[in-house]
Symmetry: C2
Subunit: 231 residues, 2 copies
């Protein structure tokens, strides 16, 4: 592809950032943030107050130096000779991820996967509030599922602005996905979690995270076949 971004010019001429959570988090680190948060929350719930880089690293299959590099970005939660403050890190990571507040989210598609997702409580806990489901099957429209209203897919344009939803979870067949994604982009959805097994060529308009179960299984098969390492 022909590149679009003009520059990488490290513009830290004056790093005016006030306190913590400094300038920029490198993509590779960003990718791991959610995992760190998850494991730290486990430790936090278990009453652990302090954690060492090599313990967290073992848990996640990462090197201790990598953990230190990453966590050093968040300021001063580490104490030499002791470890990192779990509670402080949990808070800092949520802030860095942008999940210290809440995100209004919609689900599109109420098939097998959509139905499972609507009942999954894992995200509510992390600040994602499922506001509505959109579906084309008329027998489901107008009902409430687990307290979440099911609207017609035709009412996307009407309802989404009212719900102030910024994220959408797409759990529909591949053939319908590009068209629906297009509509979501047009009404101001800022990010799509895409379960449809097709690539949505909208990377320039909004954020997309793809989760394709078949692709994940293929990655697993490859890792097994080339037994060496996985991640």
């Amino acid at each position: 592809m022909d590149n679009q971004q003009p520059a990488n010019e490290n513009t830290d001429q004056f790093e005016s950032v006030p306190t913590v959570t400094s300038g920029q988090i490198p993509p590779a680190t960003a990718h791991r943030l959610g995992l760190y948060l998850r494991e730290l929350q486990h430790f936090h719930r278990a009453g652990v107050e302090t954690i060492k880089s090599n313990v967290l690293g073992n848990r996640l299959g990462l090197s201790d130096s990598q953990i230190r590099r990453d966590l050093a970005l968040f300021g001063e939660f580490g104490k030499r000779g002791v470890g990192y403050d779990v509670a402080g890190l949990v808070q800092a990571l949520r802030r860095a991820l942008g999940t210290d507040g809440t995100w209004n989210t919609i689900l599109v598609g109420l098939g097998n996967l959509g139905s499972a997702l609507i009942r999954y409580r894992g995200f509510q806990q992390q600040g994602f509030v499922l506001r509505a489901v959109f579906e084309s099957d008329p027998t489901k429209i107008g009902t409430l599922i687990d307290g979440i209203p099911v609207f017609s897919i035709d009412s996307l344009e009407e309802k989404v602005p009212l719900l102030r939803a910024r994220l959408a979870i797409l759990a529909i067949p591949a053939q319908d996905a590009p068209q629906i994604a297009r509509r979501l982009a047009d009404i101001g959805i800022a990010g799509i979690l895409n379960f449809a097994p097709v690539s949505l060529p909208l990377q320039k308009e909004l954020a997309i995270v793809d989760v394709d179960l078949a692709v994940e299984l293929q990655r697993l098969a490859f890792a097994v076949a080339n037994w060496k390492e996985s991640r």
Copy 2:
């Protein structure tokens, strides 16, 4: 972590590899293989015989040079001035992924997510054969769901060898996952697709691919909050 691998010693003293699908595929490329295969299969089904690196790149949000670098690993499917042979690449990718044959797979957990997965036909098409489900709820044990037998979780050790299953899909609560994963490792499962929101510290014993829906949503939120790029 203290490193385990002794070396990277490029041992290509004599690269005895016979024909195509040469020595080693770099991890970053390996990660993309499933996506390439998926998109190429779409094109293949649509009757497209030849595809150019920039078309595939646009579709996937990758640069044309990256596509070329990656595909060049698989031999001579590209023709200058023309593009790549879709059918040939599909075959080569399936072979490289190790999904040109079939993989016997089991599902552990028949909650919301497990129930959705059992009905998902996406993997069967890619060579993953779901042989059985294991579950602890006695009201479900002994039934058939979508033609797949549901066994007691207690019979894992007995049944898995008979089924010759090498892959397991883990869709159970976080609290149970480490213990079940341990048992799967002990009975020779070679890879786990882990949906439980917890890290399984077995990276050294088998291949693990984690899919944590909350973590994926967090990645999405981060990408939106730091609007720049996603992957």
